[in-house]
């Protein structure tokens, strides 16, 4: 039984020109080593996205894994056709001066009273369930869409003497399917994430007065199940791209069907604010992910329409030791960092190593400016050399008659345009994948402190940014998907007085705020959500309402990575953590904590500001998202520590708490 390093070799999954084989490093590793282990291969299919039919311009997309039930007969993504007339799917008159609130999440309770109209019936115009059973809707790439009329019909059919039987509704509407083990049942739990977020973004008390409720109709997308998205969120960005596209296409089709007939076709539209309370820990953090390129181009792709705004969370992993910066010297003075992997971890662990951006279009086969050496606890160390774009290098276990890869380093390249030819800068990075440290069968990877050593190939120092990737169990709620972290003796989780170290520290007596990023390579900055921060998006941090201080978990940016734009309340207080909002069923309330929920609050604020602008006579593309009139029209709260003293955590300003029609805690 030995461990050995193989050589750098060509990686067939790294070819964007071949949709059949092209996979992200995470996708390739997941398909090869984890997806099989999950034991669910029959229920899921891996599909090239070449069938996108030009939906995403020229951005080359890798294969993704989808629930087989969500695909048309014969499998494969359906190239989405034109939307059928949408008016028939609507049951209520729409206010022309509405803002469409889009929510992309998981576990959104469609029959919830917080999303209903004053007289009953839902305010949700369209709900696309990405993992839903294919129902022949050819305007969809996969999954199933319920229109407002479908939701209202299922609610009526599920109505008892006491109101809507929401458990029965969820089954009737296909949202909960217990005959299929591969689907999720978050919707039937007491506090599904999506319902809580959607309530903060656009929920109203049944007795709410005023017209605001009528002017915030919703379009929601329930993301594909976790097993599809992958424990590391491998495919998240692609599902989200499809979701954003769906919301935009549907909102525009509704407008066109109602108001833009004949010679007014294609003119005007609803402003759209989309809440995406999801994120990834690792990535380029420079706006070059496929989803970021797509989001940045969204408004340009809808000329003449009012803006579409994306609202994203800063992230919750500020203190998880998932971000490190190393100033790497030449080969004679390599730098090392520990990478701690827990025992009994049932999901793979991932880390990324990014070199700085280089000018010009990417060069095929370019060599990473950093040589990498990876060593599991006890060795062996390898490969010790730099990989080239499109190569992989494997750590191989050889046992009694068996050979198995237990870790792999991928070398990939990113660039700042849709296709390589148009790029003006490019970057090389490694993605390190290590097998689970617990496996029912097959060889597990060793747990403990792995060592990543980097050395610069040239004579000049190179700044390397390292990130641990998100890592969740495939089963929601399970604690077996343990996240790895960087391990460095200089990192102190607490200060000398026993207080938790955060990005900033404030002196309780003088009120002076000082930076407290960390003295070693592991930092409390640059922890920000990797899909946040591109053009056309707002990134939202979390703060405590009682004292205005940033939530410790709320992630921080640092140039060249983006910083949060604004902060919203994510904790009522240091003891009353989290925010109160809707639970899974009408009348229930749950308290959940995280920047996901600050994001829901921000979505509401941004949508209300667009309504304010429309009421002031602004229309069409002249509407601006969080523009110059934004903050002056909000009752921005005042705290002893100004947000400007903690910009990497709080962004430009704290936004006020909205009235959700609930009692205070």
């Amino acid at each position: 039984m030995t461990l050995t390093w193989g050589p750098w070799r060509a990686d067939p999954s790294a070819n964007p020109g071949d949709p059949a084989t092209h996979a992200s490093p995470y996708g390739d590793w997941y398909e090869t080593f984890e997806y099989q282990i999950a034991g669910t291969s029959g229920a899921f299919s891996t599909c090239p996205q070449s069938g996108a039919g030009g939906a995403f311009a020229d951005i080359p997309l890798p294969r993704i894994t989808l629930p087989t039930r969500a695909l048309p007969p014969g499998g494969g993504i359906n190239p989405p056709g034109p939307r059928p007339a949408v008016a028939a799917g609507l049951t209520a008159k729409l206010n022309r001066k509405s803002v469409i609130v889009g929510v992309i999440d998981a576990g959104i309770a469609l029959s919830h009273e917080r999303f209903r109209r004053p007289g009953g019936g839902t305010r949700i115009l369209s709900a696309w369930s990405q993992g839903g059973k294919w129902a022949g809707q050819t305007h969809l790439p996969f999954g199933r869409e319920l229109m407002q009329a479908d939701i209202d019909g299922h609610m009526t059919a599920s109505t008892t003497g006491l109101g809507v039987d929401e458990a029965a509704f969820n089954r009737r509407a296909g949202l909960a399917d217990y005959a299929d083990a591969a689907t999720e049942r978050w919707i039937d739990t007491d506090a599904p994430h999506g319902t809580h977020v959607a309530d903060l973004a656009a929920g109203f008390s049944p007795g709410a007065t005023g017209t605001l409720r009528d002017r915030l109709p919703m379009i929601v997308v329930d993301l594909a199940p976790r097993v599809s998205i992958g424990p590391s969120g491998s495919f998240l960005e692609f599902y989200v791209m499809w979701a954003i596209r769906h919301i935009a296409v549907t909102a525009d089709a509704i407008w066109d069907g109602l108001y833009a007939k004949g010679d007014k076709a294609g003119q005007g539209g609803f402003p759209i604010v989309i809440n995406l309370s999801y994120g990834l820990l690792a990535g380029p953090k420079d706006g070059t992910m496929a989803i970021q390129k797509y989001m940045a181009g969204l408004n340009a792709a809808r000329p003449g329409r009012p803006p579409l705004a994306m609202v994203l969370p800063a992230g919750n992993d500020n203190l998880e030791r998932g971000a490190a910066t190393l100033q790497v010297m030449p080969a004679t003075r390599p730098r090392s960092i520990g990478w701690r992997i827990s025992p009994e971890d049932r999901t793979s662990n991932y880390a990324e190593v990014w070199a700085g951006a280089m000018a010009g279009a990417p060069v095929a086969g370019a060599v990473h400016p950093l040589a990498i050496t990876l060593s599991p606890p006890g060795g062996p160390a390898g490969p010790g050399t730099a990989g080239a774009e499109g190569q992989v290098c494997d750590l191989i276990w050889t046992g009694a008659g068996a050979v198995q890869v237990i870790a792999r380093i991928y070398c990939r390249q990113s660039h700042n345009a849709a296709t390589p030819g148009g790029a003006t800068s490019h970057r090389l990075h490694y993605v390190i994948c290590a097998a689970p440290t617990w496996r029912a069968s097959g060889q597990a990877a060793p747990s403990g402190t792995w060592t990543i050593t980097l050395s610069a190939a040239s004579g000049t120092a190179v700044e390397a940014r390292l990130y641990v990737q998100s890592d969740q169990d495939l089963t929601p709620g399970s604690g077996t998907g343990l996240m790895s972290h960087f391990d460095d003796p200089l990192y102190a989780t607490h200060d000398a007085a026993g207080r938790l170290n955060d990005t900033y520290v404030s002196d309780a007596v003088t009120g002076v705020v000082t930076a407290n990023f960390g003295t070693g390579p592991v930092r409390r900055v640059n922890t920000i959500n990797a899909i946040a921060g591109s053009g056309g998006t707002l990134t939202i941090a979390g703060y405590r309402q009682t004292d205005g201080m940033p939530a410790d978990y709320s992630s921080a940016g640092q140039a060249p990575a983006p910083v949060p734009d604004y902060a919203c309340v994510s904790d009522d207080g240091i003891w009353r953590t989290g925010r109160m909002a809707a639970g899974g069923r009408s009348g229930s309330t749950a308290v959940l904590q995280g920047t996901s929920f600050a994001t829901g609050e921000a979505t509401r604020i941004v949508a209300r500001d667009l309504i304010r602008q429309m009421d002031a006579g602004v229309a069409g593309p002249a509407l601006v998202v969080a523009g110059p009139g934004f903050l002056p029209n909000l009752a921005v709260p005042s705290y002893p520590m100004p947000a400007s003293a903690m910009p990497l955590k709080l962004g430009a300003e704290r936004l006020p708490v909205q009235d959700h029609g609930r009692v205070a805690r």
Binding site: D177, Y178, D190
Partner: protein, 377 residues
């Protein structure tokens, strides 16, 4: 100890003799319905009190040579109405009711399972599904396991307390709804009386017997999975409570009223816990609804309506009388409603002990004015 001994003696005797699962299931109905009366007029029985009473007897100094003093005694206990059991403690009335119901509800072995008869008239028969059917339903055991973290609190309580959850339908306590609690306790005990022979003659395996990956979060009981006792008891109680609370026979909105939703959740929680298949719950619920309906009929002197419901394997599916239930169908209230014959019978006058209990319980759910008018009529 004579009177009080019943409650205690039973509880202990059963608990020891029958093991945990059973003892818990029973304890619930009994504990809730009884135990208000003290042994003696002013306190518990004890050797000291007996000694004191004897001392008082001696102290009073009467010579008694066996004479009678009839002037102080009525000819019989209670009233002339044979249905009136108000002269009994709740404990004793429970014994009486259990006995009367046991004489009326009988379960006999039939092909592949058992048949329930009420007053000698066949009501429902069950035959267990095939092993392949159960194997196919393991997908539900897996799917529902996703709700364990959410449901473990109620699952644990429902091992030995079902009635508290029916207390969500409306006020349930031993003053305002004393008669309701007594009746619900009695019908849950009746359901246990019915379910055990069914289980014995079906003796189907539990999920844990089909895979070591189920990892149930409560102890798997020793008796048959099919039919589910929790489902049978919960749906019996739901049927009775629904009719008491609403004063009508077949529910106006099918089986979707709150008591049935609660019963469904109690039954489904056993699948969440990993100790039951949906078909177990469906069979238990079908029988439970029949028991509840039959108690209502017995109380009002009505005959069973229609022929017996026959639940048995047919090919790869289960026949539910009319509709077929396939292994990949979940247990829902809609499936249950599809197998029930809506009842349009009008209740007759209350008959006998059970009728009097029903009437007293139903009166607790009526508006006082309506109850007074009914009494006056």
């Amino acid at each position: 100890m004579a009177q009080y001994g019943r409650g205690q003696g039973r509880g202990q005797g059963r608990g020891q003799g029958r093991g945990q699962g059973r003892g818990q299931g029973r304890g619930q109905g009994r504990g809730q319905g009884r135990g208000q009366a003290t042994d003696h007029a002013g306190g518990e029985s004890s050797a000291g009190l007996s000694d004191a009473l004897a001392a008082v007897h001696d102290g009073l100094g009467f010579a008694w040579n066996g004479q009678t003093h009839l002037a102080t005694s009525p000819t019989r206990m209670g009233t002339a109405d044979d249905g009136d059991t108000r002269y009994l403690t709740a404990e004793t009335r429970g014994n009486l009711v259990d006995s009367l119901l046991a004489q009326t509800f009988s379960v006999a072995q039939s092909a592949g399972g058992a048949m329930l008869s009420v007053g000698g008239v066949p009501s429902v028969s069950l035959a267990a599904p095939s092993r392949a059917f159960f194997q196919a339903q393991m997908v539900f055991v897996r799917s529902y396991a996703d709700l364990r973290a959410d449901r473990i609190g109620e699952i644990d309580v429902q091992i030995d307390d079902m009635l508290s959850f029916f207390g969500l339908v409306g006020m349930l306590n031993d003053t305002r709804r004393r008669n309701t609690l007594e009746l619900l306790g009695a019908v849950i005990r009746l359901a246990v009386h019915v379910e055990m022979p069914f289980k014995h003659w079906c003796r189907s395996l539990r999920p844990i017997d089909l895979s070591p990956m189920v990892h149930p979060v409560v102890q798997t009981p020793d008796h048959s999975a099919f039919p589910s006792g929790h489902a049978m008891e919960a749906f019996t109680a739901a049927t009775v409570l629904d009719r008491l609370a609403r004063g009508s026979a077949y529910p106006a909105d099918g089986l979707r009223s709150l008591p049935f939703q609660i019963a469904h959740r109690i039954a489904t929680n056993r699948t969440v816990a990993g100790v039951h298949f949906p078909v177990d719950s469906l069979a238990g619920a079908l029988v439970g609804c029949r028991i509840g309906d039959a108690v209502w009929r017995v109380a009002h002197g009505m005959a069973l309506s229609g022929g017996p419901l026959v639940v048995a394997p047919v090919g790869d599916a289960m026949s539910l009388g009319g509709p077929a239930y396939t292994a990949l169908t979940d247990f829902t209230l809609d499936v249950l409603a599809g197998a029930q014959t809506p009842d349009s019978g009008t209740a007759g006058a209350p008959v006998g002990v059970i009728g009097a209990m029903w009437k007293a319980a139903a009166a607790e759910w009526q508006d006082p004015a309506a109850a007074a008018a009914e009494t006056a009529a």
